[in-house]
Structures are given as structure tokens and as C-alpha cells.
Point group: C2
């Protein structure tokens, strides 16, 4: 007569979310335009021309970050930035943030002050205000941030809306945050093996480490769009990795897509890190998460409106029945799995070979 006990790893994170969503998903509100299911929720305000968007994200010690590798000020900055990125991914401006922090006893007042200096710096950068919070004791450092953003009703962009023929575009470069993580993990291991006197030389990896520890929300990109009259048809931020986000856009837009791997923008330093580990930089770019760049569907006629240095065309939307594909640098066209290194590598043997350095 004991209750059933299904371990969460058996259904996985997405399986769990799906089951939880059937419990709460049908709650309704007349002003709610988008509930759970996009980068942020969207609700109408009484003036009927403005909407607010709201998003929330947690960062948990030992799961999302390693305190040994993460300066507290960077952590505070990142906690805000990743939430702002979700607001930006709705084409909205961030306005207000709240934060709860569970603080373990081993942290000092000075560390928490550094954390909040990071929070402040992010708020200043994105021109928003921290309006509420809760600090409490905890066993591990756990941070939860909520950000409210604002947009004109006719400006909000969703994951849905892409059409076959639209260009698949991305801002900035990809794979860098993952490369930074690889370096940090390597250095942590070296520190463990060689003792506390070991002096890591991180200078050659400055860019990728910053991509990992101090990501930026691309608020500058959507502001530039507004100034130029650019209006993508669908938008998402790249938090879980390009492949996963392309699938989200396609599923929500009822489209297929093809990604040309050789056109994905990758920084030189990211390439050097992949070489260092004798790994394929395309897998970094396709499956590495946390770059927080913007991935969007652009009607081809808007191409000329954009600053060509600010983005890359990396593919094209197709009819839904074509699925989601990737053309490898070698020219093979294969299905693009939503996540996983392993899948991609298994499907395309040549990619497993270490690049020559």
C-alpha cells in the first residue's frame, strides 16, 4: 500500500516538467497572452497597448556553478544576466528584478557583498531595478531571480512565427561558454593534482572564460533592431545549445530547418580550446550551452536592414515535413538531434576524429 516512487531521473527533466505542466497548465487569466512555454510569460496591461513579460531562473551551487571557479561578483552578474536574456528573447526591455538567495554558513558577509555588487552592476548595465528580495540560511548557495520586462504589444516576439523560407540567424558567436567551461574544469583538476601552489595561466583563454562566467544578455541587439526597423518573425535565446533551440523554434513554428554547420560563427579562441582537447569545435557550437546569443527567423527581405557584422545567417527554415537537419562541414546532410554530443558524433563518424593541431 505504499505510494509509487518514480525516481525523477527515470522521466528526465523534460518528462517531469511535462507531468507538472498537466497539473497547473490550464489555469487561465483573461489578460494572459502566453503562459508557461516560451522564454517568458506575457500578460496584457490595462492600457491595452503594453505588455509585461516575466521569467524566472534558479542557479544552484554544485549544479549550475562551482563556487571554487566562480567569483561571487560574476555569479551575481550572471544570475541577473541569464534572466534578462529570457526577457530580451521576447523582444522586451527588462524593468524590475527580484532575487532570493539561500546562503550557507560558510559564506562571509564580504562574499555576499561582492555577489550583490555583481547584481548591481548587471542592473545598471541593463538599466533595471532590483525591487525585492529574500535572504535566508541554506545548506548550499541557491539563487533564484525573477525579471519583469516591458514591450509594446505589437513588438513581442515568440518562439512561434517562423515560416519556411525565413533565414535562420544568430547573433555573436557560439560554443565559447562551453569552451570556457572545459578550461575551468581542466584547471580545477590541475589544481587538485598539483596542489595550491599551481599557478594556472588563464590569460590565453580570457575570452571563453568570460563567456562562461560573465555572459551578457543581447539587449544591444534588440535595441539595434528597433532602431533599424528590423522585425524577426520568431526569437529565442541560446541557453541550452543551438541544436536544442533550433528544435524549439521549429516545433513552436510548425517548421523544419536546415543548419549549415560551417557557417556557425565560432571565435578563434573557442577553436583553439577544441583543438587543445582534440575535440570537434562544431559540437561545441551546436550543443554547447550558455552562450545567450539570440537565434531568430528573419524574412529574407529584411536582410539588408541589418548591420552585417552583428549576426550570421546559419541556415534556413523549411516545411515541417523536412524535419530539422544539419549539413556537416563535409557536406553530409543528417538529422540534427535536439541535444547531445553523443548523438551527433555517433551519426557522423568522421566528426569523431581529432582535428589536426
Amino acid at each position: 500500500m505504499s505510494e509509487p516512487f518514480t525516481p525523477i531521473h527515470e522521466v528526465g527533466e523534460f518528462g517531469l516538467i511535462e507531468r507538472l505542466q498537466t497539473i497547473v497548465g490550464d489555469l487561465a487569466d483573461p489578460d494572459l497572452i502566453m503562459g508557461i512555454g516560451d522564454d517568458a510569460a506575457v500578460y496584457r496591461l490595462p492600457d491595452e497597448e503594453t505588455v509585461h513579460v516575466i521569467t524566472t531562473d534558479a542557479l544552484i551551487e554544485g549544479v549550475h556553478f562551482d563556487r571554487l571557479m566562480t567569483p561571487m561578483e560574476h555569479l551575481g552578474y550572471k544570475a541577473i544576466a541569464v534572466n534578462v536574456s529570457d526577457v530580451v528573447a521576447m523582444n522586451a526591455e527588462p524593468r524590475y528584478a527580484t532575487i532570493t538567495v539561500g546562503i550557507p554558513a560558510r559564506l562571509s558577509v564580504e562574499m555576499m557583498e561582492a555577489f550583490y555588487r555583481g547584481v548591481r552592476r548587471a542592473c545598471e548595465k541593463y538599466r533595471m531595478v532590483l525591487v525585492g528580495g529574500d535572504t535566508t540560511a541554506a545548506h548550499m548557495l541557491c539563487i533564484s531571480v525573477t525579471v519583469v520586462g516591458e514591450a509594446r504589444m505589437d513588438e513581442v516576439l515568440f518562439r512561434r512565427g517562423a515560416r519556411p523560407g525565413d533565414l535562420l540567424c544568430v547573433s555573436g558567436d557560439l560554443g565559447g561558454a562551453y569552451a570556457g567551461l572545459k578550461i575551468l574544469l581542466e584547471q580545477r583538476q590541475a589544481l587538485k593534482e598539483k596542489g595550491p601552489d599551481y599557478q594556472p595561466d588563464l590569460e590565453p583563454f580570457r575570452y571563453v572564460i568570460q563567456r562562461q562566467l560573465l555572459p551578457e544578455a543581447r539587449l544591444d541587439v534588440i535595441r539595434d533592431w528597433r532602431a533599424r526597423g528590423v522585425r524577426p518573425r520568431a526569437l529565442i535565446d541560446v541557453s541550452d545549445g543551438l541544436a536544442s533551440e533550433v528544435h524549439h523554434l521549429c516545433r513552436h513554428s510548425d517548421c523544419g530547418a536546415i543548419v549549415y554547420a560551417s557557417t556557425i560563427p565560432v571565435a578563434l579562441e573557442t577553436r583553439e580550446v577544441a583543438d587543445r582537447f582534440a575535440e570537434d569545435v562544431d559540437t561545441y557550437a551546436l550543443f554547447g550551452g550558455e552562450d545567450y546569443e539570440l537565434l531568430f527567423a528573419l524574412p529574407p527581405e529584411q536582410l539588408e536592414l541589418l548591420d552585417p557584422t552583428s549576426f550570421s545567417v546559419i541556415g534556413e527554415f523549411l516545411p515541417a515535413d523536412q524535419g530539422v537537419q544539419v549539413q556537416t562541414p563535409e557536406g553530409a546532410i543528417i538529422p540534427l538531434e535536439p541535444a547531445g554530443y553523443q548523438h551527433f558524433r555517433a551519426d557522423n563518424g568522421t566528426e569523431n576524429e581529432p582535428p589536426s593541431t
Copy 2:
């Protein structure tokens, strides 16, 4: 040359918050009416007649709750209700909630479903919608909720605004949640000592246990005020204990106050629990937290508008120079310390004697 390390317990929770607030406190926004420093933040919407309020609160396993004593469905309900209570304490209606949950591996899918059933039940009860969330792995169960509420600009109530001569009033009864906690802790100890076959008889303590595990936000009270044209001058919810909240109202309103201990409403069951532990029920009522009743400053001329069964007059606001006082049931007038049992008991020796049972 190592960094200074001040342990957080050295400055205390309020000391820490003060230091953190100096770092982020002066961020400004033209539409922000109230930032950090009340039960919720308040910002103006574009129609200029409506405001939104926002509040956030975390519940951490081992700090705010003991999983052994807390059914998951109750926990989900409470996580929403305590945040709604902060919205209600601004005289606003809850509209939207977001939640992040850090889930340890030892929890099952079924437990999380029960948790979300509680979340749903609370959303239905308070007629609001869960619009966003984030679930992630964690070492301990940690929950963070944010609630956005709505009010007409001229209806919002703050902690400030009370005037000398206003009546100090409270809804419902006090001390019950603390009594419930006492019983739950006693039963957990008995279970530990007597083994798993021990059958606790919790039926006589049903009311106080519910006050602890399943508190309600008093949305019904502020709706009743609206229907009757009642408009208190200042408002706060009783989450940290009556004494602490009276101090908040007085400090924000630049007033003093006197509380008549014998007029504080206490349920019979709460009294019985205090008797069981040979403790003074007035200390439960003054310092026990988590009752989530509403404490408000009422202009005397509005007394007749209220339903007399829905609230109690428990004191009066005084000029600031009179400080915050309490008249004990024995008639002595002594300073009311913002928190702490110990203070109160030390100041008034007779209260230390166990009541006769």
C-alpha cells in the same frame, strides 16, 4: 593579505540585509513607487491608474520546513499562500506567480506532482495563474516563489501611514501557527524515541497544525474592506510575529503604539497547547510567527463600517516619542521588544511562571 571574513551570524539577517541594501538600494526607476522595504514593491503601469506589486519568498528544506512533518501538497500550497499574503498586505489582488524548485534526487515524480497539486489549489483559491517556472536538481528541496499583484493606485496600502489615535487592529487569531509547530516538533521527537510504530494522536491539535502547515492569505479580508468602503491607513501581514510587525508599522509611520496583551485574539486550541507545554500563551501571540493575519491602523471613525466578528482592536497608535509598549494581562506597561520571547520574559518575571493547568 587575505580578504576579511565576517561570518553572517555576526551581523545577523537584518544586519546583512542592511549591508546588501546599501549596495543595491539606490537604483531608481521613474515608475517605481516603492522598492525594497515594504511587504512588496510597487510600480506604476502605463495607464497611470493601476499599479502592480511584486514580492518574492523562498522556502528551504531544513530551514523553513522539515520534509518529514510537511506533506508535499501542503508545502506547495504554503509556498504560494505566503507570497500572496505579502501582496494582500499591500491591499492588492494576486494575479501571476512564478516558481523555481530545486529538487533533490531522493524525491519522486509523485511527490513533485503532489507539490504542484498544492500549488494549483492555492492558485485556484486566490484566483491567480502560475505563468512560469524552473525546475532543477539540488541537494535540498528549495523553493522560490514570486507573485505579481494588481491594485488601483489610490488603493495601495503601505506600512507607513498610521497616525497617533488610530486603532491597532488584527484579523483572525494569533499564536496558532507557533502552537502547531510546537506540537509537530513534539511529535517528531516522540516518533524518534518510540520508533516507527508510534501513532501520534494529532486530532486534538487539528486547528493549530493547519495554521502551521496550511496557512491562508487573508484575501477575503481585503475584499470585505473594499465591499464595505473600509480603508485602513497602514497595513502589514503578521509573518514574523505580532511584536515585530507592530514595530515595522511604527517605524515606517513614525509613530509609537501600545498593545493590550489581554485583547490579542487567541484560539482555544492555541491556549491548550501553551498549557500543555506550561508556557505563556501571550508569548505565543506576541512573538509566534507565520500566522499571516493582517495587522492594520484603522481611523476610529471607520470602526462601525467593519464586521465586528472579522477583527480585533488590540491597541492604539501613539506619538513616536512614546515608543512601542505592551500592557501585560497583569496591567504592567512595559516596552515591547520587536522579537524575542527571552526579552519579554526577562522584562516581566511573573510571565515566566507556568500557568496552572
